[in-house]
Structure formats: structure tokens, C-alpha cells
């Protein structure tokens, strides 16, 4: 890159150090000259020169790519949300009556082999009906419009069963404008005869436009906390890493600088040359980083994490953020280099590290995290509804607390290692080395410690607020795999349908239940009574029955809550009306029936979905006749295998009976989807950061080994077993990492507690994740040690003696 400046700078360099005492422009020129010379060294310093530059470039590049992705993520998520909003009809203008521009629409989400498929039923009532985004026209009856990913699924052998369910003619492919991500599974099914909502009773709506007015939502305080913390915890280690990456090969560079001093460069000049070298490395890193980012962007479309995918085009960093990265990274490279050389005197005959740095002082090191704590503590309890955090205060507080680790770690390590001695030779070698170079060891671990501490705090905050996001559904997957709620427009007979479902392979049972409401008068005046109708076997799912035969009736005690809500009670022999007892629709008449004289009281038990039913339980022969679509019809499906073909066939049967049917897969707990996305994002982010830092650890480890090649060879010569050398390398990394992880655990838990207080969540420390995360950090170290063993063994050969 500097070839153009070479002829100009080389003679200028020869004019010697006297040149930099000039005026402003002169000084600038001197700076430029020296930086350019350094840059030239970076690229022309022979094989070793450019491999080191490449190493720095790749390291910085990875960091830059991670930075760019992080800065692009918010806009990518915003773009997703925007398109999701654009096709939503929540809050769309509705019409009372059919018109030229009205569209009947209903959601019919499906699930297939554990995948969620978004489904929308549409029926245009006039030529001007609004067209959903991404479509060219509203699908006509029997027609299907599917997303590309769904089309692929339907065309694949894997999707054969789904094709049976979505058997319409595929006439359109949903365009990108109508999708949140490239891997989204979505269909629009054209229908006829949809019944629009009357007094909010049906899921079908009549709309005139797709327009969702999005209120600029203020992020909840806890969410702000999470977002800020995630960014600080992920980006801080990246910054630490970039700082380490520009120091790759530092020792060798220092030696070359000494040679430059010998031929007449002054100490300021060599510093500038060193900065120029770092600058060149970081510029190479920027270019590589941009390349990595483009690469990541192009492959991101193929990724599908938990059914969430991102369009490459959405992953666009904000220009000012990208510009900031482009300026900050080289500036940081120069800054870090100059800072690192501050304790180094480069003499013509070699590099002198300022002998014995002053004993590390504790007070200012403690000040950093304490300042962070001071910023955070006043915010305690604000996470309650309506509270608000000052974003900058939170950011600064968290950042200071985490940076505090990097301040305390060298001190702690020095204290700890300073007192160590005894133990086997490998231990002694490692400890002594650490005593001499505490700072270097701490620098390596800083990044990992910060990342782990941040991740622990995040993890705690997550588990603290987990209760808000994870609900105990009360469902019992052991009793039924799927609960099908038949759409109210279904014409089929419930029992018939249940028998059909029960006949599928792998299905062990299908229990149909009807429930309707009944009242003493129609329209109801004195409260409603729940009526559950089913065979004895079905009724046993909702109540504890000693004996039961067709013709029996029971009164379930249920829970007091429900009885109070509806208020109605029934006595033996009462004449009741069932079905349309509220008088919504005049066309359907309530159905009269008589409560049998025998009406034993029985205790309710929760049905498979967890509902505790009360009211009348009737066997078919004493039940009221067809209630004309009023009430609900439900089938509990039991299966051998929760992801077998039988269940998919059952879902298909339900969809065929009515596309408005819902087939709910029963699960013990339900976790909010958004919450798990953040958690997954955190996991991947933390992993990426740790891998990155592990890479830098490995590079500096190998670098250090190369420096000590001759020593290693002579140690092997006089009979040091290789295992001793390997162990000493292990101790040498394990010790600082152990200290770093301990500190990270303390800080992470501390920060976590503070954050939970702030979020007003109950403080509870779950040691599992703490152990897991510190374990991952330790694992990275173990991996790095393992990977540095082959070069160690290669270098600890007598060939090293020959080079002298």
C-alpha cells in the first residue's frame, strides 16, 4: 500500500531526526513520513513481516466484523419488525358490511414436525380488497400463496404430509416484502364462506387495508437493561481483543526498532514507526473485517436459528456506526501501540523494559469498579413498572464495573503469584514466568474474564426475570399430546372426527368433548352454567368418576372461581337452555334440555390442558341436541410418539374439518419466543467472543514459544521431559485464567445481583450457569493449551540449538 510513497519518503527519512523540530506542517510531514515507513515495514518485512501483519489483520478483521454485525443487528431487527407490522391486520380499519374493498381475513397458524407455520385465510369480497404485502393479488378460493421456504418444504419429500393439509393450488410465491426473514414459513390460503365476526365472537375479521399503526413503543426498563448489558458485555471483550491483536509479534518488532535506533532513528521516531506498523495492520484488518462482514452477510440468509432468519439486505450497519468503526479501530491501534511502548525504552542495542515497574497499587484499581457500582446502585428498584433508567448511566456503570476486572486482575495475579513457590518443576517454571510477566499474562486473560463476567451477569438477569417469560402452562403432555379445538364453522360430526383421528397410526386415543353454556332462561338472566358433554371415558378426563354409564349426569364441583364467574347453578330436574343463550344471533335458537334427576356431585380434575372444569357433566344420551355451532368442540389426542406422522395427520384432519381449528401441542412450560431469541443471541455472541479471544491467546502463546526456542531446546537437551514443558505451559495459562475466572465469577455475580435489584427481580443466584460459563472460559484455555502443544513439541527440538 505504501509503494506510492516509497520514493518520496525514503530520502526524507535520510535527512535524519533533526527534521521534526519544524513548524506545524513540518511536524505533520514527519509524522506522515514515519507512519508510512512503519507501514512499509509491515508489508515488506519479509515472510515474517507480512505473516505478522496478516495475523494482526485477521485478528482485527474478526473483531471489526463482529463490531459491524453488532451495529447492524438493531437495524436488521427493526426491518424485520417493520415488515411484520406491515402485513399485520391488528388495528386495521374494519368494515361492518361487505364492500368493494373488503377482505375477510383470519389467522390459521399451523405446526408441522415442530416447526411453526404462519397461516392466513383470506377471502376477497370485492375487486378492491387489500392485497397482503408481498402478493400481487388476493388468492382466490382454493388457491395458495406460500413463502419460498414453505414452497421448498412442500416440494420436498419431508413435506409430503403437510402437502396433504395445504392441498390448494399454489398460484403465488410471497415476495420478500411480505416476509420477516428468508426462512420464514408462511402461507395465504384463499377461501370462500368465511364468517366474519359478529360482536367479537369469531376470529374472522373484515378489513379494508393492511395498515398497522405502530405506536413508538418505549422499551421497558428491564429490556433497556438487557440490551445495554448485552452490547457492553459483548463489545467490551472485542475491544480488549483488538487491543491485544495489534500487539501480535510485539517483541520481535521491538527488536527491529532497536536496529532502527542503531542506524540513527531517535526514540520518538521509532515510536511513530511502530505506530505506523500497527496502523498498517489495523487498516489491513479493516479491509479484511469488511470482507468477513460481507461474507457473513451473504451466508446469514442461509441460517435459520429457531426459525428466525435475517435477510442479508437487512444486515446493514448504520453509516455513522460503520464510519465510527473505521476511524476508531486504526486510532485505537495507534493509541494502544504508543501506550504499550510507554514502559519500554528502545535503545540502539536492544530493548529495555523499564526495570521493575512500580508495585501495583490497589486503590485506583478498586476505584474503577466502585465508580461503576456507584452509578448503578442509585438505580435500584427502578425496574418496576413505570420506572426508567438513564441509559448512559447504566452503560457507564456496567462498563466501569467490567473494566474494573481488567484493572484488578493484574494486581490480584501479582499478589497471588508473588507468594507462590514450591511444587513440581513445571509449576515452578510457570509461576516464576508469571512473576516476571504478570502484565502480559493478565492482558491475555482480560478479554475472557470480561466476557465471562458479562455473560454471568446477563445470565442471572435472565433467570431473574425468567418467571415473567416462562409460564407453567398447567398442561400435562403425559395425558394428551395435542388438544384440537375444532373451528366453529366445522360441519363434521365430532365423534366421527375423533374416530378418524384415533385410527391413524401411532395414535393411541382421541377423546372428544363438547362444551356449551346453559342457562335457565334464554336469553340468560341469572348466570350461566358450563356443560361438558362426552362419553364416560371422556368425562373421566375432567372429573373423578366412581361409576359411569351412558345416561348418567354429574355435577362437577370445579373451582370456586369459575362458579362465581358465571354464577349459574343447576339442580336435578331443572329445565335448561343450551347453546345461544346470550341471544347473539337470532337465527340460531337455544336448545332446551332437562337435567337428569340423578345428579351426583363429583370432584373435578384438571383436564389435559390444565383447565379445572365445573358445572354439568353429561353423557351423550342425556345431552342437548346440536347447538348450531355454539359451544366448543375439543379432541384430546394421545400418541405414542410426540413427533410421529399420526399427529400430523390428526392436525391435517382438524384443518380439513375447519381451517380455523387450532391444534395445540401440549407442553409443561411455555417460554416467550422473544426471550429465547435474546438468550440464543447471547449464547452465540458469547461463543463468538470467546473463540475470538481464544485465537488471540493461541497466537500470543505460539509467539512466546518461538521467542524461547533456544531455551526450550537447551532444556530438552539436558533431559527435561516434554511433559514437564507441556505442563508448565498449561499452568502458565491455567493460573491467570483461574484467577481471571474467579474474578469474573465474583464480578459477574455481583453485577448480576445489582442488576436484579435494579430490575426489581427477586435476587437468586443460580450457580449452575456461573459454573458453566466459567467452565467454558476454562475450556477455551484448555483448548488453546492443547493447540499450542504441537508447536511446543516442534520447537523443543535440538534444531533450536543449531540456529545459534
Amino acid at each position: 500500500m505504501s509503494t506510492g510513497t516509497t520514493p518520496a519518503t525514503a530520502p526524507a527519512a535520510r535527512t535524519g531526526p533533526g527534521g521534526d523540530s519544524g513548524a506545524g506542517t513540518g511536524a505533520l510531514r514527519v509524522w506522515f513520513r514515519d507512519l508510512a515507513m512503519g507501514a512499509r515495514f509491515a508489508f515488506t518485512g519479509g515472510r515474517q513481516g507480512w505473516t505478522r501483519t496478516l495475523l494482526t489483520g485477521v485478528g482485527v478483521g474478526l473483531g471489526v466484523a463482529l463490531l459491524l454485525i453488532s451495529t447492524a443487528l438493531p437495524s436488521a431487527l427493526a426491518a424485520r419488525t417493520d415488515r411484520g407490522d406491515a402485513r399485520s391486520w391488528l388495528g386495521s380499519p374494519t368494515a361492518e358490511h361487505p364492500g368493494q374493498d373488503t377482505l375477510l381475513i383470519a389467522r390459521a397458524a399451523q405446526s408441522y414436525r415442530g416447526k411453526d407455520i404462519e397461516g392466513v385465510l383470506v377471502e376477497a369480497e370485492g375487486p378492491d380488497a387489500p392485497v397482503p404485502p408481498g402478493l400481487t393479488q388476493v388468492p382466490g378460493p382454493g388457491e395458495l400463496a406460500v413463502s419460498p421456504a414453505l414452497k421448498r418444504l412442500l416440494d420436498s419429500p419431508d413435506g409430503a404430509l403437510l402437502r396433504e393439509r395445504l392441498d390448494g393450488r399454489i398460484t403465488q410465491t410471497v415476495g420478500d416484502a411480505g416476509l420477516t426473514g428468508p426462512a420464514e414459513l408462511l402461507f395465504y390460503s384463499g377461501r370462500s364462506g368465511l364468517r366474519p365476526a359478529v360482536e367479537g365472537f369469531s376470529r374472522v375479521e373484515r378489513i379494508t387495508a393492511f395498515a398497522y399503526e405502530r405506536q413508538t413503543e418505549k422499551l421497558g426498563p428491564v429490556l433497556v437493561l438487557l440490551v445495554v448489558l448485552t452490547f457492553v458485555a459483548l463489545l467490551l471483550p472485542v475491544a480488549v481483543f483488538i487491543a491485544a491483536a495489534v500487539r501480535f509479534g510485539g517483541e520481535r518488532r521491538d527488536r527491529r526498532l532497536a536496529a532502527l535506533r542503531l542506524v540513527g532513528a531517535d526514540s520518538r521516531m521509532v515510536r511513530r514507526i511502530a505506530a505506523g506498523e500497527a496502523l498498517a495492520g489495523s487498516l489491513a484488518g479493516l479491509v479484511l473485517g469488511a470482507g468477513f462482514f460481507v461474507l457473513a452477510r451473504s451466508v446469514v440468509g442461509g441460517f435459520d436459528i429457531q426459525q428466525r432468519s435475517v435477510f442479508p439486505a437487512d444486515l446493514d450497519p448504520a453509516p455513522w456506526l460503520a464510519a465510527l468503526v473505521a476511524v476508531a479501530v486504526p486510532a485505537a491501534a495507534v493509541g494502544v501501540t504508543l501506550f504499550a511502548l510507554r514502559g519500554v525504552v528502545i535503545e540502539p542495542l536492544g530493548v529495555v523494559r523499564t526495570a521493575k515497574p512500580a508495585r501495583r497499587r490497589l486503590w485506583w484499581r478498586l476505584l474503577v469498579p466502585l465508580a461503576g457500582l456507584g452509578l448503578l446502585v442509585p438505580l435500584t428498584g427502578r425496574g418496576d413498572d413505570g420506572g426508567e433508567f438513564n441509559r448512559w448511566q447504566v452503560t457507564a456503570g456496567v462498563a466501569l464495573l467490567l473494566v474494573g476486572i481488567t484493572a484488578l486482575l493484574p494486581w490480584l495475579l501479582e499478589r497471588l503469584v508473588g507468594r507462590m513457590g514450591g511444587g513440581p518443576v513445571s509449576w515452578q517454571l510457570a509461576v516464576r514466568r508469571l512473576q516476571v510477566n504478570t502484565a502480559g499474562a493478565a492482558r491475555l486473560v482480560n478479554g475472557i474474564a470480561v466476557a465471562v463476567a458479562g455473560a454471568i451477569a446477563l445470565q442471572m438477569l435472565f433467570s431473574g426475570v425468567e418467571d415473567d417469560y416462562t409460564k407453567d402452562t398447567g398442561q400435562d403432555p403425559g395425558r394428551a399430546a395435542v388438544s384440537i379445538l375444532i373451528g366453529d364453522d366445522a360441519q363434521d360430526d365430532l365423534d366421527q372426527l375423533a374416530r378418524q383421528v384415533a385410527g391413524y397410526e401411532g395414535i393411541t386415543g382421541a377423546v372428544p368433548l363438547r362444551s356449551v353454556q346453559a342457562a335457565h332462561t334464554a336469553p340468560a338472566e341469572d348466570g350461566l352454567i358450563d356443560v361438558t358433554i362426552g362419553s364416560c371415558a371422556a368425562l373421566r378426563e375432567v372429573a373423578l368418576l366412581d361409576s359411569c354409564k351412558d345416561g348418567d349426569a354429574f355435577l362437577a364441583t370445579g373451582s370456586d372461581d369459575r362458579a362465581r364467574t358465571y354464577g349459574g347453578t343447576a339442580a336435578p330436574g331443572d329445565k335448561l337452555f343450551a347453546g345461544n343463550v346470550r341471544g347473539y344471533e337470532k337465527a340460531v335458537a337455544p336448545v332446551p334440555f332437562t337435567v337428569p334427576a340423578e345428579l351426583p356431585r363429583v370432584a373435578s380434575r384438571p383436564d389435559p390442558v390444565g383447565a379445572l372444569r365445573a358445572g354439568l357433566l353429561l353423557t351423550p344420551s342425556v345431552a342437548p341436541a346440536d347447538t348450531g355451532g355454539y359451544g366448543s368442540r375439543q379432541i384430546f389426542v394421545m400418541a405414542e410418539d410426540t413427533d410421529g406422522d399420526g399427529l400430523e395427520r390428526a392436525r391435517t384432519a382438524a384443518y380439513k374439518a375447519s381451517p380455523l381449528s387450532t391444534a395445540m401441542t401440549l407442553a409443561q412450560t411455555k417460554r416467550d419466543a422473544g426471550y429465547s431469541t435474546v438468550r440464543i443471541g447471547l449464547f452465540f455472541g458469547a461463543t463468538a467472543v470467546l473463540v475470538l479471544i481464544g485465537t488471540s491467546l493461541l497466537v500470543s502463546q505460539v509467539e512466546q514459544l518461538r521467542e524461547r526456542r533456544a531455551l526450550l531446546s537447551s532444556l530438552v537437551a539436558f533431559g527435561t521431559p516434554r511433559s514437564t514443558l507441556s505442563l508448565s505451559v498449561l499452568w502458565q495459562t491455567a493460573l491467570p485464567v483461574g484467577v481471571g475466572m474467579a474474578l469474573a465469577a465474583v464480578f459477574g455475580v455481583g453485577l448480576g445481583v445489582v442488576l436484579m435489584r435494579m430490575a426489581a427481580a427477586p435476587v437468586r443466584i443460580d450457580w449452575g450457569p456461573v459454573a458453566a460459563l466459567t467452565g467454558v472460559g476454562a475450556g477455551v484455555v484448555a483448548l488453546v493449551t492443547a493447540l499450542s502443544l504441537p508447536p511446543l513439541l516442534r520447537m523443543a527440538r535440538p534444531d533450536g540449538l543449531r540456529t545459534e
Binding site: 513440581p424 518443576v425 510477566n437 531446546s713 530438552v716 537437551a717 533431559g719 527435561t720 514437564t724
Partner: protein, 230 residues
């Protein structure tokens, strides 16, 4: 010249060793008796150091045999040779041999510790040897804080601390001035003679070689025993 002379402690015959296309040794012979100091001389690049590495079992030769006390080195495993180097041999190199982070006494004690001697005991023995080499005052200092001559004497102390039967010295005075070189050689040969150890001394300096009892010359990978040639 092709058979090990009777009574020799360490002997090699017909050693060949090539590093890539470069023939470092091309049929070299060698022998040393207990208590004998043999100088290995020759121009640089002649294969002196390679000969020493082969004799010490650091590098296996491509062909030829090395026998130490009747045992064939080339037939031993790497672990066995390492153990031999640890217990029977001592080494002094030109530089780069002291662990910079360890104190001098820890450096001297290192071979004993590797052989399993307890730390206190090892450092006690180490101090005794440092006294013999007149560097006991440096016990607590790090190699970076002592002069080249002192460091080299520390290295000699380390090479002798296990009471080796063969001491290998590769240009032990190469980085030293005359006075320090003299001192190191005097102390080294005296210490070796007092323990009846054999010394293999690789050097290109005749004044250093003058401390030996006998010299062999290595040229183009072949050895020449001057005593027997004349």
C-alpha cells in the same frame, strides 16, 4: 579408527547425519575416556555441534553407532535418552540456556528437581556447586541481572550438579571475554577432573582447546584424531 578404543566411556563410529541436503556428519568417529577432556575443533559449519548432539543423544544419527558405558544410544527410546541426559550427562551451551524467570540457584537446582530431588535438598546441593564456581553470591538473582561470565559459571554449576559422567560443552566461552573465558575453563576442567568426568569440549578457539588433553578435528563432517594421526 573405526572401532571404539578399549576403556572408552563414550565412543562413536561411522556417524552420518544429514539435515536435508546438507551433510553435517559424514563418517565421524569419536571416543573419550573417563576423566579425559577432549576438544572437538574445526571451522564453523564443519559438524562439530552435530557431533556433540549425536554423542549426547540429543539427535539420533542417520547411521553409525554411539555407545555409552557399553549401551547403544541409538537403540534407546527418546524417554530413555532423556533420562540418560538428565542423570549421566551435563550440558553447557554458549547462551540461551538459563531460564530467565528462575533465580540462579533455581536454575542450578533444575536438573536435580527434574530427577526428583526435593526442592530444599536440590537447592542445597546447587549452592555447594555454585560455591565451587565462585558464584554463590548470585543465588537469589535472575540470569538477566548477572554478567555473561557469571551466567556461564552458573550454567557450568548446573551442568555439574547431578554429578554427570560426561560433560558436554558447546563453545562454553564463546560469548565471554578472555579473563572470564579462562576462569570458566579453569573451573570447568578442575571440577570435571575432580569428579573424574569426561568432557567433550566443542570449540573453535585453540586457547580454549589448550585446556583439553587431546583434540580431534572435524572437517566436512569427518573427524580426525590428531594424536593418532601423527
Amino acid at each position: 579408527m573405526t572401532h571404539a578404543p578399549a576403556g572408552s566411556l563414550l565412543a562413536a563410529t561411522g556417524l552420518h547425519k544429514a539435515y536435508g541436503p546438507t551433510k553435517a556428519l559424514d563418517g565421524a568417529d569419536f571416543s573419550v575416556h573417563p576423566g579425559e577432556v577432549v576438544a572437538v575443533m574445526g571451522p564453523s559449519g564443519s559438524g562439530k555441534s552435530t557431533l556433540l548432539h549425536c554423542l549426547a543423544g540429543i539427535v539420533p544419527p542417520d547411521s553409525g553407532s554411539v555407545t555409552y558405558a557399553g549401551r547403544e544410544l541409538t537403540a534407546m527410546s527418546d524417554a530413555e535418552r532423556s533420562a540418560l541426559r538428565r542423570t549421566e550427562f551435563g550440558f553447557v551451551f554458549q547462551f540461551g540456556q538459563l531460564v530467565p524467570e528462575l533465580t540462579c540457584v533455581e536454575n542450578v537446582a533444575l536438573p536435580l528437581r527434574l530427577a526428583g530431588v526435593r526442592r530444599k535438598e536440590a537447592e542445597h546441593t546447587a549452592l555447594a556447586w555454585m560455591e565451587k564456581l565462585q558464584v554463590e553470591d548470585l543465588a537469589g538473582q535472575r540470569p538477566g541481572e548477572v554478567s555473561g561470565g557469571q551466567g556461564q559459571r552458573v550454567a557450568v554449576a548446573r551442568s555439574l550438579v547431578t554429578g554427570p559422567r560426561v560433560l558436554f560443552a558447546d563453545e562454553p566461552t564463546g560469548a565471554l571475554d578472555s579473563l572470564n573465558g579462562e576462569l570458566v575453563m579453569q573451573l570447568l576442567t578442575e571440577a570435571a577432573r575432580s569428579t573424574n568426568a569426561a568432557v567433550v569440549l566443542v570449540t573453535h578457539e585453540t586457547r580454549v582447546a589448550a585446556w583439553s588433553d587431546r583434540e580431534i578435528v572435524v572437517r566436512d563432517g569427518r573427524s580426525r584424531d590428531m594424536e593418532r594421526a601423527i
